[in-house]
Amino acid sequence: MEGNGEGGVPLTGGAVFDKELYGGADVTGYAAVAADLEEDDVDEREAAVASKLASYTAPKSLMNDLPVQEDGDEDPSLLQSKRIVDRESDYSKRRLNRIISPDRNDAFQMGDKTPDARVRTYADVMREAQLQRERDNTMRNIQEKQRREAEELAALDAVPTKASGMAAAAAAAAAPAAAAPSGKRSRWDSAAPVDAKKAKVASEWDSVEATPAVNRWDATPGQAPTETPGRGGWGAADDAAQPKRNRWDASPTPGHGAGGAGETPAGGKRSRWDATPAMMGAAAVGATPAYGMGATPAYGMGATPAGGLGMETPTPGMLAAQMAAQQGVPMTPEAYQQMKVDREMDERNRPLSDEELDAMLPGTAEGYKILNEPPGYEPIRTPGRKLMATPTPFGGTPLYQIPEEDRNQAYDVPKQLEGLPEMKPEDQQYFGKLLKDVDEEELSVEEAKERKIMKLLLKVKNGTPPQRKSALRQLTDKARDFGAGPLFNQILPLLMSPTLEDQERHLLVKVIDRVLFKLDELVRPYVHKILVVIEPLLIDEDYYARVEGREIIANLAKAAGLATMIAAMRPDIDNVDEYVRNTTARAFSVVASALGIPALLPFLKAVCQSKKSWQARHTGIKIVQQIAILMGCAVLPHLKSLVDIVKHGLNDENQKVKTITALTIAALAEASAPYGIESFDDVLEPLWKGIRLLRGKVLAAFLKAIGFIIPLMDAMYANYYTREVMIILIREFQTPDEEMKKIVLKVVKQCVGTDGVEPDYIRTEILPEFFKHFWVRRMALDRRNYRALVETTVEVAGKVGCSEIVGRIVEDLKDESEPYRKMVMETCDRVVRALGTADIDARLEELLIDGILYAYQEQLADESPVVLNGFGTIINSLGQRAKPYLPQICGTIKWRLNNKSAKIRQQAADLISRIAPVMKKCDEEKLLAHLGVVLYENLGEEYPDVLGSILGALKSIVAVIGMTRMTPPIKDLLPRLTPILKNRHEKVQENCIDLVGRIADRGAEFVPAREWMRICFELLDMLNAHKKAIRRATVNTFGYIAKAIGPQDVLVTLLNNLKVQERQNRVCTTVAIAIVAETCAPFTVLPALMNEYKVPELNVQNGVLKALSFVFEYIGEMGKDYIYAVCPLLEDALMDRDLVHRQTACSVVQHMSLGVAGLGCEDALTHLLNYVFPNIFEVSPHIIQSTTGAIDGCRVALGPAVVLNYLLQGLFHPARKVREVYWRLYNNVYLGSQDAFVACLPRMEDDGVNTYHRHELDVFV
């Protein structure tokens, strides 16, 4: 760097800030701006989450760890992580920083007693929160001071001598982020080399930062911060903190160590024990002569240190993992990863067994001898760690003992417990206790309880659905026996586990939900704990997770009561961490919706006016915003009080409070629209004053609030206020800030849409600037901008008219940028669709057609239908005015139908189907017919998508031109279509069957009957189609064809088809038969159909019954003429041994009885009911359903009295099973005709004191 000379920028090496080019701006200044950018705007955050979601991927560290297969492909099953942490944004991950606080005092239970000193009371919590805040402030002050010092230092260095100047400038420029460390140089270690200093500083900082977390409450289960890297910043400190560690844990990873060894003499801090023998061969030999290999021959081989197992010092990661595993505290994902890798390595490198060695080496037979191992030798079982092993200091260091090796250690096979689901490695720390063999008898009650809960939770988390279900039920039923403490102390740490997956979280949350119901007021001491775990769900990107979180918090609020909820959450309201405040605000809004807004109002009022900290005010106002968002128009009754609570925030001295207040007012106005303007009276003035004074983000928020309030106003006021705000809006049109742009567009849309705003005003004041600044190509590139602009423009067009807008943008249809053309096209499309083309004059019309033709021809071959839709809409709207342009358009289409590119051909065909109706309207039948011929010639198309479009185009031409005048004539067209019916492509099938169906419907006579029969056979295959629309069209086509050529032949085809195996095909066939019966009158079909019942084949008979069921469903009242004819068949079916026979026959009876109700067929129906009734005792749900249906049908047709008479005999039957059935049926009758059967209920005799006789029924005049 220095070699480059003065003031130059190096060509190689790290990036440097070139002061000459970019001016002398102080780089460190940017940090302050970045800090300010942290903002609580909901929309922004959600947008950020959304944008993350669009392409989220696993963290890099994980991707690097993925096992790569031989051919370099990544294992797909490993690629998709189901864990929640992996898809979370950094912001959401901050949930892991939170600590499950210990139980709190339940003031209700205590009554007037003074709480035990050991129990945490509200006062304690508040005091802690206060301390935390002060600490944070102090920290910030210190940081600020250091930054200032650094700046001063940099300023000093900026006046360089020739020699040192470059280095200093480079250092200052290259490390803007390292400003803090460089500031510390003067205080701590000015002489130290850069690396060491950095490390030192980092560790110092981390320890300071971590201190707050280590207070006496951290002893809660699972929350010892020392073992959780990544929580208190310890993870980052891992490497950096090493110099500060005591010398015993200082054996570094090899890579690190090699470098470190070189530095050793210079650092001077290392003792000779720090260097491991494995490294001796490398750097250490020369570097640490005091510990030379040659000098200490007693060591023997450097590679096999004599240290016993358990002596070696593992890497920090392993250390953490081991300790975590032993102590049952959560581990970080990295630690798991490490553990998994270790396990695998251990397994692969496991020591060879004696048998294996025997097999490999020559044995005694060949004259070799197996020697015994030397006395005192102990093998090292984990070779992976051998490298890192620290040698035993011979002669014994005091205070250290060689731990015993656990010879029972299991290396690979995870332990499996009987009756319990499999445990994942990461479950060990929670459920590890279950693996220990214990005598259940010896356990204390508490331990037994804990073990029981643990088992149940493991079943819920990892078990099979039945296991899970019964475990969940047990947990619920015994919740009160277990007690709140033991339950939550186990569930909540599980939920905080960093390796949790979505499904597991869902299940555990479900457990909490169920348990909450049972525990009720017992949950009070645990409210805060639960909230810490559940609150993150409220900002989860998954909708269902959010709903789940809301439900839990609402239930919690109902169980614990308002006072407890407030006491639990109050300390978090002015927490220093924005994340905590944000989630707390959301949780509070849920509480408000659960317990009612009025209950919370006094509290909110107090919080929003807090003098102590702006954070409290900010959160209070945010709660109101969240309430508005969550509850929607339900805020209306309390609108006035809510606005009153927040309104002073508009004048707050803190910018963030101002911003959130404006956003809250926006949310309230949005929720209450179109009512409630009078509630906003008080905020109008500060808002309108504010927009004149403010800039930047706050201004954006104020504008947003105004945008939502204006639509609520009366016309007169709206006009006035719009004019006021429009000056600012127009000024902000030119803002480079994307967020501001979107808000401005939205506000313009809202203002323009309001009644009182005059078109003239918009035309003269707004439009010129609007088009100048917004209708530029750049706007089309961002999807959200694109949409906002189109919507606003359409709204403006609604006021100023179609031609005004279209006239301004029509030239841009010929713009060279494709996205921009699309945006113009979509706007034209929507404007024309909304307003029509009546006010477009001849000149504009020409320009417009010219433009859309250009845009159509120039469009890239992509999927978006924007241009086609626009084309279609505009041409259709022009109607007859389009006539002069049609030849040109058709020319283009014809030309493009022969294009090389399939997409272009498809677009051309699609366009035909859109403009065919207009061509008919313009009397261009000849042109249409010509296009028909062209399309007909193109039926040999090989691309299915294009073929589908061509068929669609033909269909629309046939539809407008009619069968008789169609060219090519139908008799030529249809035979060409028959083979296409075989095509399996869905789009082709659908369009083809539609076209064939239409021809069969309207022009069947043009085609010989034999051709139709051929088509019938083809159609049978189409009944297998996946798409319902195709099957429906097919079935309908059968009807048309039957109508055209008579039902006999079609029916034969269909009846034969009943023999096929496939169920879907048979079902569709029966539907087709029913449709044929409906279109050709039942008497043409029924004889053949009933005759088919004679075929002794299950499928056929069932098919016939099913067809009958459909027939009677479709023909309704007509059924009265056929009911006697089919009675014998139904009798037979209802007595059949086959369940499905009876079931289907029951549904026939149901449809039949419903159709003929009130038409005098009671005799036949009563007869059939007698056959139906015995089936009520069937157990299969299908037959239960159809029997019940049949009886219900008969109730309608015969009246409830008849059915009631059947039922009375079983209502009080001695067998419970019988009663169950009869009461179910009785209830059905009761629900259906409660009033009608009052008169038919039996006369009852009085029974002792009870009068059952209904004397009123005996009254007569």
Binding site: W1223, Y1230, L1241, Y1252
Partner: protein, 88 residues
């Protein structure tokens, strides 16, 4: 397992039905409960159909309003006090 779950479901449905429609019955409905529902339904029907109220009014030589009021009153304990539970 399945049958157990089914029964559970059906019972749950029944519970729901009962909560929604008071007059529906269940296998353990006793004589008293059934008659209670029958009587109440009968009175409700009389009150609901104006012509039936009018008929009774003529028969009893009372005003229609009074007859309706009487029906409403008798809906309170139409069958007298419930019998003592037998075993519990």
């Amino acid at each position: 397992m399945a049958s157990l779950a089914d029964r559970f479901n059906i019972n749950a449905q029944l519970e729901h039905l009962q909560a929604k429609y008071v007059g529906t019955g269940h296998p353990d409905t006793n004589r008293f409960e059934w008659n209670l529902n029958i009587k109440r339904d009968t009175y409700a029907s009389f009150i609901g159909h104006h012509s039936l109220s009018a008929y009774h009014a003529i028969a009893e030589n009372e005003s229609i309003g009074r007859v309706k009021y009487g029906f409403k009153q008798s809906m309170l304990l139409p069958c007298g006090l419930p019998p003592e539970k037998e075993d519990e």
